[in-house]
């Protein structure tokens, strides 16, 4: 039964490719990412030359917390859980990422240790883009490298704003709890 499904889906993929003459290339996937949205097809082709596709099995780590970051990953298919070990050695789930999402993007800026691990919760294919290649791109194609860096700065800024809002919310919560606690005493 399982085999017949596999063969059917394989045929479906193959016939689709044959009829439309299209296969989802790395360029197609890169086009969907907000970080690279301003880039033309020609510019994306340049990036696709140093995009490495990797496959991970279920429960396999793409990277672990504490390791030096070297690459950003884009999920081509599958699912990735961002996890962090708690004090009692259990993995806490921070986020679940789907096809088209990116993770580990701060590694494009420096090699500081990963703050959390990335675990494949389904068989996953991801595309890796390395900081070293991006640095090289800044020299050979400054206009492409500049656009990516600009978007990376925007995304990082947005995340900082979100984190700041979270911190403010949490401080408010703590203050309210403190007031409640003092009132009860």
């Amino acid at each position: 039964m399982e085999d017949s499904i596999k063969i059917r889906s394989l045929w479906k993929d193959f016939s689709k490719e044959l009829l439309t003459g299209q296969k989802q290339t790395i360029v197609d996937i890169l086009k969907t990412i907000p970080l690279l949205k301003d880039l033309s097809k020609r510019e994306l082709k340049v990036i696709s030359k140093f995009a490495y596709e990797r496959s991970s099995e279920i429960n396999e780590f793409v990277f672990e917390a504490g390791q030096p970051g070297a690459a950003m990953f884009i999920i081509k298919e599958g699912e990735i859980k961002i996890v962090k070990k708690s004090d009692n050695d259990e993995y806490l789930e921070i986020a679940v990422l789907q096809t088209g999402d990116i993770f580990g993007e701060l590694a494009l800026l420096d090699s500081s240790p990963r703050s959390a691990g990335a675990l494949a919760s389904k068989p996953t294919k991801a595309i890796a883009i390395f900081r070293e290649d991006l640095n090289g791109l800044l020299k050979t194609h400054p206009e492409i490298g500049g656009k990516i860096m600009m978007h990376l700065a925007i995304i990082t800024g947005q995340r900082l704003k979100t984190t700041t809002n979270h911190v403010i919310q949490m401080e408010n919560e703590i203050n309210k709890l403190k007031e409640k606690f003092n009132g009860k005493q």
Partner: protein, 418 residues
């Protein structure tokens, strides 16, 4: 349990695969050892030219055209240097004349060094101090220059045909007067006979040798082109077979090693070129012919890549030429007319500039090797592969050092080893 079995099976599989490929690779290297040098030099040339290709690409020149331009420049340089070297290499008659001349000059300079007028007269303090030891070295050098029977008869034939200039004939007769050299020892004679036989076979099959060399070296430009054309496919292939756990580490190691080795090789090339250039300019100033100065500059530049021994090779070549050269006219008047002193000054200046300026600026302290490693490496290289072994020993050791230290650092950073 199942996963453990699977793990063991995959370990056995990968180990067998690795062993299989290493055996095949080792066998191929052994069988095709003649191709190893052109392949290594092709890769090195491509590596060194990579920034050149990138520079031309940034200037808007397509990559393929940039590669063609660089290949053209390389071919032109090799052709010009090759032509200079070929035109400077003497034929059999010139070789004999040169040896007669060199032997005479060596004799004269040796006597002058010890402050003697002939071998029976009293010498200076140097003669008293180390005269006997120096004489041994001098005899050793002379044993390479003395004619064997075959060469003697050849030279006499040239004399009969009046093909030898009067000056060389004078040198020849003076050499014959020398009491110690008229009866060369059997060892040196044998050595000379061997070299004579070698040169005989060489001259007999020059075309075959040329074709042989062409068929092997034709691979070099192809290696050069394909390594430069590569758009990261080679790196992609190797990274593709790395397990996920080591993927990021492998990439980082790859690029760190790439940068370090690229900088080292390009730095060494630049340093050698600068030393060669200084020696070329210096020798031209002291009045050497441009062609001779260029040839000595090239030899000194290339051999400068061999630590310790390189400068000696450059100096030796310069001194040998200085001994046989006659009637040199220094460009600047206050320069000493003695070419030997001139060569010593030029090589000293070149080495001073190399150690004080070129090395610190070009190479920095990126790859420091212990002098003991350098000495053993160069000696080992010469045993394994002669001159090329000496030349490539240090870059090979540097590559290994960079690879091992980077892999170790990265493996620790990624918690693969503790």
């Amino acid at each position: 349990m199942v996963s453990n079995d699977r793990l063991n099976r995959s370990r056995v599989f990968y180990f067998s695969l690795f062993f299989f490929f290493i055996s095949i690779f080792g066998f191929l290297i052994f069988v095709l050892k003649d191709l190893v040098l052109p392949i290594i030099l092709g890769i090195l040339a491509a590596y060194i030219s990579l920034p050149g290709v990138n520079y031309l690409k940034r200037k808007g020149i397509p990559k393929s055209l940039a590669i063609v331009i660089l290949l053209g420049v390389f071919s032109l340089v090799v052709f010009v240097i090759g032509q200079k070297i070929v035109s400077a290499i003497p034929n059999e008659k010139e070789n004999l004349e040169l040896r007669v001349q060199l032997q005479y000059k060596l004799d004269q300079n040796f006597l002058a060094l010890l402050g003697k007028t002939d071998y029976n007269s009293e010498g200076n303090f140097l003669d008293d101090l180390v005269g006997d030891e120096l004489y041994q070295i001098f005899q050793g050098l002379n044993s390479f220059l003395v004619f064997n029977k075959h060469e003697s008869s050849e030279f006499k034939k040239y004399i009969k045909k009046s093909m030898i200039s009067e000056r060389t004939l004078f040198f020849y007769n003076e050499n014959l007067k020398h009491p110690f050299l008229s009866t060369p020892n059997s060892k040196s004679n044998k050595l000379n006979e061997n070299t004579a036989n070698k040169s005989k076979t060489k001259s007999a099959s020059k075309i075959a040798l040329f074709l042989d060399a062409i068929s092997i070296w034709i691979i070099l430009p192809f290696i050069f082109i394909f390594v430069l054309i590569d758009e990261g496919e080679i790196k992609s292939f190797f990274l593709g077979i790395v397990p996920n756990r080591y993927f990021e580490m492998a990439f980082t190691t790859f690029s760190n090693v790439d940068v370090a080795i690229g900088n080292y090789l390009r730095g060494t090339l630049l340093q050698s070129s600068l030393v060669g250039l200084v020696i070329f300019i210096g020798l031209s100033i002291i009045g050497f012919k441009i062609q001779a100065a260029l040839l000595i500059g090239i030899i000194a530049g290339i051999s400068n890549a061999i630590p310790f021994l390189g400068p000696v090779i450059g100096l030796g070549t310069g001194l040998i030429y200085a001994m046989i050269v006659e009637g040199i006219n220094p460009i600047i008047p206050f320069i000493p007319a003695n070419p030997i002193v001139g060569v010593l000054i030029v090589v000293f200046i070149a080495q001073f500039l190399d150690n004080a300026v070129f090395q610190p600026i070009v190479l920095g302290k990126a790859v420091n090797l212990h002098p003991l490693v350098v000495v053993i490496g160069v000696t080992g290289g010469s045993i394994i592969a002669g001159f090329w072994g000496m030349l490539l020993a240090i870059p090979t050791i540097v590559i290994f050092k960079v690879v091992i230290s980077t892999v170790y650092r990265q493996a620790k950073a990624y918690y693969i080893i503790y």
